[in-house]
Subunit: 138 residues, 4 copies
């Protein structure tokens, strides 16, 4: 189920693909994506613009909160930047559900370099919008 | 001073330029940027990926908190998504300082469509890193 | 209407009264409360525990988001601490609505000393729970 | 070391004691506190004012980020409310460090009922202020 939802999302999500993101793993309420910091993502000092770090975390959050055949959207996100990321580094975002209540879910996403240095911590709040990816099978 | 800082930042910031952002206005502790939602930014339903809305707000925040010839970086950001943005819409991000204390500043950024529909509210916390853009003139 | 809602809330809210809060002003989607930092609120250095500063802001937010005869509850709050508050100081919390979308509202609350020194900035997200304070008059 | 820091903080912290908090456990970069929802903490429906739930989480955060003989203060906190808490319930706040970078730390605090029902999720960002609790022993 999680993989079918992810496949449906991935097919739609030209933005994540366009940034070179790779969907590495998906499981119920969890997802891992990676992205290499390209030339178009950095400033004059070779450091990644925070918006792309956020986009990677946000995509991992979106995949994780859409693994139950219930469409969810982001209501609120926040991010702490802990360390800069440089041109050429591969960043990995691990999203896991932390809590849920009613139609809301809370997800934590950790963004690290492939070598394990912590770059940012992201937290996202999802809301179910009452739609499905596909009909439940009989 | 604000414009000299903005020019120095803009020259370095290939990422914002690459996303088609336009620096519309800069003033002490304030900035306005715009960006049109392009095809590479949307999902299969034609709606803008949240990461690009965030990136626009984040860039407006970065310009606003770097208007005093003191380099500042983002420590924490959060965003509330209020309305989706569609392919072809032009988004405008208005950043203003809300508070400062010691080396920290607090900035609010409102993202709207050009027609004035509110899309997202962003808040960023900056930290001064003790560096300058250029030497103070005598 | 705003005042009738506030009166209904105030009658219920023993917690805010018990902390010595004063409801100074209420208007549609806005409220101002004050509180003097008492001995029970401070640590050994005479500085106010952050939880009481938060509680004042949270109460101002609650009054502001409940001025339309629609019961709202807090879904998410965040606070930046800018300056400590000392024993004996009177703190004033000014809450105003910043945005709304669907059943959610976004409110900003500024906490200052009576003399105007900024102590904290709070942002709260409300959710309507579909209940009213009293029947609409015919 | 963690316990010596906690003892020093507890002696100073009349506010937490005054709310009936109990320091149940402390370890390096972690702490657990509990508090029973008293009559002075509830509104007319018997539900705990969010400010007291926040105060419990904030105190657990404060103890956890002050276990290394380096004084830290709260810079930013946010809280998601997941479930109301009722008069007479005992709430338990578990704080653990999630990340650190330079002088900043990031802590997660989970607030549950004693029976394990999740009430709120809190995240706090600490800043070291360059002071100690006591001289390091030779």
């Amino acid at each position: 189920m999680a993989q079918a939802c992810a496949a449906a999302m991935w097919a739609e999500d030209g933005a994540s693909r366009g940034l070179g993101m790779v969907l590495e793993h998906v499981a119920p309420r969890a997802a891992r994506l990676s992205m290499t910091v390209g030339e178009a993502m950095v400033n004059g000092h070779g450091m990644c613009h925070g918006g792309f770090i956020f986009a990677l975390a946000d995509s991992a959050f979106a995949f994780a909160c859409n693994t139950q055949n219930q469409r969810n959207v982001a209501a609120h996100c926040d991010i702490f930047y802990l360390r800069p990321a440089a041109h050429g580094q591969t960043l990995v975002a691990e999203a896991v559900q932390r809590a849920e209540a009613g139609r809301s879910g809370l997800y934590d996403v950790r963004v690290s370099t492939r070598e394990g240095a912590l770059v940012a911590e992201f937290r996202g709040q999802s809301r179910s919008i009452g739609a499905k990816f596909f009909e439940d099978r009989p």
